[in-house]
């Protein structure tokens, strides 16, 4: 298809022609031609701003930043080109400044009518213009070009004068006197959008400044050059806002903010597998250097909360490592950091570390308090109950057999045994049962169901094996089963089920391949007991159990007559049988538990002891769990079951 129609743009490709024409003009050292092209570009840029055409704007605004670096190489080789190089570089900064200062201001109509969509679109234009300026300054810094840089940064600083895009008043009002503002939500949103102009402005300077530090670090620029750059790169910011900015900028990687992740300081050949320096790293280094150099920042942990504190903890970690790097390279950095001696540097670093330590502590404390105070989430408890209950239901052979044969009856709770846990404390586990930022997933808790069912099975087998009247048949599993079945027969009972240890589902080939044994197919398994069914021997269902107690033994019985189960019921329990409850530890209960053994709860394994309040908070990050099954197994007829013992050697018992 025609490429203009494909791109839906009849002007497609014109910008390429213009760039090529500019190249030619530079090559021929022709100022007039350049001026004509420059005028054209400006006209098109202004046209696109006026008509909101981001597409065309983005194509041309980047041309300005290329003015400098395309003429730089030529000017370096050949003095003839110096003139045009200077003229075009100055033109670039002047144009960008004009566009940002006069043409990209927020329209008063949009601001007063709260046209958020239009204002946000406007921000896209503003970002592109700042990005172009950023690229311009970046190339100048990379070339160590102080003179041109001075000119450009002077132009940049003029963006502050005539502050039509300055909404600081609104910002201050929102911060200090929010009650006095009408329509607070809208004004907040408005401020979040229109403050972007100043944000971009500040962030650009931060980026360039910290990039110059990196260039000094990798010896691309010398000390004097870097100092001259840094002197010109000033920004003014409230301490806490500055910290917020740094957190924000460190986490910008995926958005490719100002293309910082592409900035590089040397040519990389294709053969090297390499990436440009990570913006997160050099931003953090720059931040630390600024802290030491300027020494004017005072951070207040109370103004930060939640996720910010977490980010600041990570920042604190990085700062510790970078601090070590600075200390070991003291001679390189000493003039830079304005420190008088190594011990001076160390003390400054310690001070900084201490400040951030406060943040870390506050982070942890805040998190814990949030968890301790949070209510339990009903849905999560229900989910836990369902999961646990399901596991219990599917994993208990004994109980399911009783359900299948229906030889069980309900009785009162005092006549049965309790299997499981009641009101057991689970420390630090409350986070699994709350909603919100601090919640975590509860994987290991799901095992409770299986544990309970294993205990029930063990209880059942215990009763069986401790019964004084036992009957043993010995031999291989096949012999054992046959002997047991015939023994039952003699007593006059028909075998209902056979229960064998789980390893025999694969171990004994003779048994498995016996013609009388028919493997159960997966399609036939539909009830709960069928989870344990492996097949039928002489039409008697064969079940397996994982219980340790069943090792090398088997049971053949007439289940319905042999055993009986009594159990307690309650409508609030899972399937009315399994009690699953989760309750939080409130302040009174925490005090109760604490009072039993105060020193235990305050002990922190070698670290400083916790205060009572902190210990109570720790307690309250736990929960109390009850998972219990109330049942009792009995043998009703000792003659209708037979125990077998599988031994290779008949003499062994």
């Amino acid at each position: 298809m025609n490429k203009y129609i494909e791109n839906q743009d009849i002007t497609y490709g014109i910008d390429n022609t213009i760039r090529q024409a500019l190249e030619k003009a530079f090559e021929k050292n022709n100022k007039e031609t350049f001026k004509v092209l420059d005028r054209f570009i400006k006209k098109v840029v202004l046209l696109s701003v006026k008509n909101d055409s981001l597409n065309h704007f983005s194509k041309y605004i980047t041309v300005y930043s290329s003015y400098y670096f395309t003429t730089y190489a030529r000017a370096k080789e050949n003095a003839q080109y110096k003139n045009i190089h200077r003229e075009v570089s100055e033109a670039a900064s002047i144009h960008l400044k004009e566009i940002l200062k006069y043409f990209l201001i927020y329209s008063e109509d949009d601001v007063s009518n709260l046209n958020f969509q239009k204002l946000e679109k406007h921000n896209q234009f503003i970002y592109l213009a700042f990005n172009s300026f950023s690229t311009l300054l970046y190339s100048m810094v990379n070339n160590g070009d102080n003179n041109f840089f001075d000119y450009a940064i002077n132009q940049y600083n003029q963006l502050d004068i005539l502050s039509r895009n300055n909404f600081d008043d609104l910002g201050n009002q929102l911060k200090y006197y929010p009650e006095k503002i009408e329509n607070l939500e809208n004004q907040k949103k408005l401020y979040s959008i229109v403050s972007q102009y100043q944000s971009y402005k500040k962030h650009l300077i931060i980026g360039i400044k910290y990039w110059t530090y990196l260039l000094y670090n990798v010896k691309r620029n010398n000390l004097e050059t870097t100092l001259r750059f840094v002197d010109k790169l000033n920004f003014y910011s409230d301490s806490n806002d500055f910290l917020r900015d740094i957190i924000f900028l460190r986490n910008q990687g995926y958005k490719d903010y100002f293309n910082w992740d592409w900035w590089d300081f040397m040519e990389r050949y294709d053969m090297d597998f390499h990436q440009p320096p990570s913006s997160r790293d050099w931003l953090t280094l720059g931040f630390l250097i600024d802290l030491i150099r300027e020494g004017r920042f005072y951070f207040n942990p109370d103004e930060f909360k939640g996720k910010e504190l977490e980010q600041i903890s990570f920042l604190a970690e990085s700062i510790k490592d970078l601090g070590k790097m600075l200390t070991s390279n003291y001679s390189k950095w000493k003039q830079f950091l304005k420190v008088t001696s190594q011990s001076d540097l160390d003390s400054k670093l310690n001070r900084i570390t201490a400040i951030f330590e406060q943040f870390t502590v506050k982070n942890i404390t805040e998190k814990k308090i949030a968890i301790a105070d949070a209510p339990l989430s009903g849905s999560k408890i229900i989910e836990f109950q369902n999961q646990t209950g399901k596991r219990w239901e599917h994993n208990s052979l004994a109980r399911n057999l009783f359900v299948k044969f229906e030889n069980r009856k309900i009785t009162s709770i005092d006549k049965v045994k309790v299997i499981g846990y009641r009101k057991q404390q689970l420390g630090q586990a409350k986070a699994m049962f709350i909603e919100g930022d601090n919640s975590i997933d509860s994987y290991y808790l799901n095992d409770y169901g299986r544990t309970i069912s294993n205990e029930i099975d063990d209880y059942f087998f215990n009763i069986l094996f401790s019964y004084s009247y036992q009957s043993f048949k010995k031999g291989t599993i096949l012999q054992c089963i046959d002997l047991s079945i015939s023994a039952l027969d003699q007593e006059g009972y028909n075998a209902d089920i056979i229960v064998i240890p789980s390893e025999y589902s694969y171990k004994d080939g003779e048994f498995l391949n016996h013609p009388n044994f028919i493997m159960a197919r997966n399609e036939e398994k539909d009830s709960l007991t069928d989870n344990f069914l492996i097949g039928k021997y002489n039409d008697i269902p064969v079940y397996i159990s994982n219980s340790d107690l069943l090792r090398n033994r088997l049971i053949v019985c007439d289940f319905s007559t042999a055993f009986n189960m009594k159990y307690a019921e309650d409508p609030g329990w899972y399937k009315n049988e399994l009690q699953i409850e989760v309750s939080l530890i409130d302040v009174d209960r925490a005090r109760e538990i604490y009072a039993r053994n105060p020193s235990d709860w305050r002990n922190r394994n070698g670290l400083e002891e916790l205060s009572e309040t902190d210990a109570l908070i720790n307690l309250r990050t736990g929960i109390e769990i009850t998972i219990a099954s109330y049942c009792k197994f009995e043998i009703t007829n000792s003659e209708s079951f037979v125990l077998g013992y599988i031994s290779e050697n008949e003499d062994q018992v």
């Binding site: 203009y4 002007t11 490709g13 014109i14 090529q20 005028r39 046209l47």
Partner: protein, 367 residues
């Protein structure tokens, strides 16, 4: 001629005109530009020869008032015809010499400007007309003794009338040709052509965009609960045709128009035989494949008659690789690079003005 609501193109153009009415010229402007294109084209000899022949035959057979008025003696007619032939030959040869000289002194010598010159001055038309008239004079003169006096006289009169137009055309030719010696006028003309080319493309873009949105909506009317038309791609169903990337460009056709009423009738017919129906996402002014199956169903394939009717619903034209489509953009691009190379910044400024107008046009109409 397809200017009513039954046709899809009419609907789309109406929708586009709501927002971008300035892009579309009035009917008179469209017709006159088409006419001047036809007459200025190098293949207009067909029209010319045909027209002249018709005029002659008309003159000889029927009573045209302008020919009836005049009376001519047979002897005079014989003299006139010889003299006219010589006159015309002389005029045309002198004119061609001057034309050749002027063309040599064109301010801008490039293939595009030559093409523009030939078109705007109707040079081809003039030359063809002159040559045809001379040819007819010669034929008539040859037949002077074989045809009746009456026919001969009438033929001569008709030919003389035609011959009158030649000096007028030549005058017009010179008038237009002189302009081409002025560089500024040439660049203005080129700019107009560029803008026209841009407008044409922009119209095409907008029509495509709107037709892409509007075509599926045609099938919304059939949204009765049991009638489900999901959008499908060509790879399902029992349609056989060659894979798209192997199809040579000559075989591809461009979709010009769709007859909506006929299509709806066929849709209703098809609905009776099957529940699930699929339609191809057609886009005006874009390539179309499988013209015989623009609606189909998986369960009941289209019969031959049905396919024939489906083919009647659409109008296509050959999707030729038109090299002339982007001629002016390419020309201007090259010109800018050349001017930058040579450092001729004044001309560069005027050329860039043309591009600025193009940007204006695009930005105003791109919504």
């Amino acid at each position: 001629m397809r200017d009513y609501n039954a046709w899809f193109r009419y609907r789309v153009v109406k929708a586009v005109k709501e927002d971008n009415s300035k892009l579309f010229d009035s009917k008179i402007a469209v017709w006159s530009s088409k006419l001047s294109y036809r007459l200025g084209h190098k293949n207009c000899w067909v029209i010319v020869v045909g027209g002249v022949f018709l005029f002659f035959t008309a003159a000889v057979i029927i009573d045209i008032p302008c020919i009836d008025i005049l009376n001519l003696e047979f002897a005079n007619a014989k003299i006139i015809i010889d003299q006219r032939t010589t006159n015309i030959a002389a005029i045309i040869s002198m004119s061609l010499v001057v034309v050749g000289f002027l063309i040599n002194n064109l301010a801008v010598k490039s293939p595009i400007t030559y093409g523009l010159l030939f078109r705007k001055t109707y040079l081809y038309f003039t030359i063809y007309l002159t040559c045809t008239i001379i040819a007819f004079f010669m034929v008539v003169s040859l037949l002077r003794d074989s045809i009746t006096e009456f026919i001969f006289i009438r033929a001569v009169i008709a030919a003389s009338y035609l011959a009158l137009s030649i000096p007028i055309l030549i005058g017009f030719l010179f008038r237009k040709l002189i302009l081409f010696t002025n560089e500024k006028r040439i660049s203005n003309m080129l700019k107009d052509e560029l803008i026209d080319e841009g407008r044409k493309k922009l119209r095409s873009i907008l029509i495509q965009r709107h037709s892409r949105e509007m075509y599926p909506k045609l099938f919304d009317d059939f949204a009765e609960p049991e009638f489900n038309i999901p959008i499908m791609n060509f790879l399902q169903g029992n349609i056989k045709f060659e894979p798209v990337d192997q199809m040579p460009t000559e075989k591809k056709k461009k979709l010009e128009d769709v007859n909506v009423w006929l299509l709806k009738v066929l849709l209703n017919l098809k609905k009776l035989s099957t529940e699930e129906l699929f339609f191809a996402r057609l886009v005006l002014e874009d390539n179309i494949e499988a013209e015989n199956d623009i609606i189909w169903s998986n369960t009941s394939p289209n019969s031959k008659i049905f396919k024939w009717f489906l083919r009647r619903c659409i109008r296509t034209s050959k999707a030729s690789k038109n090299i002339d489509e982007d001629a002016y953009r390419i020309e201007f691009d090259n010109k800018i690079l050349q001017l930058a190379e040579e450092g001729r910044y004044q001309n560069l400024e005027t050329t860039l003005d043309a591009y600025y107008e193009l940007y204006d046009l695009q930005i105003a109409n791109q919504k």
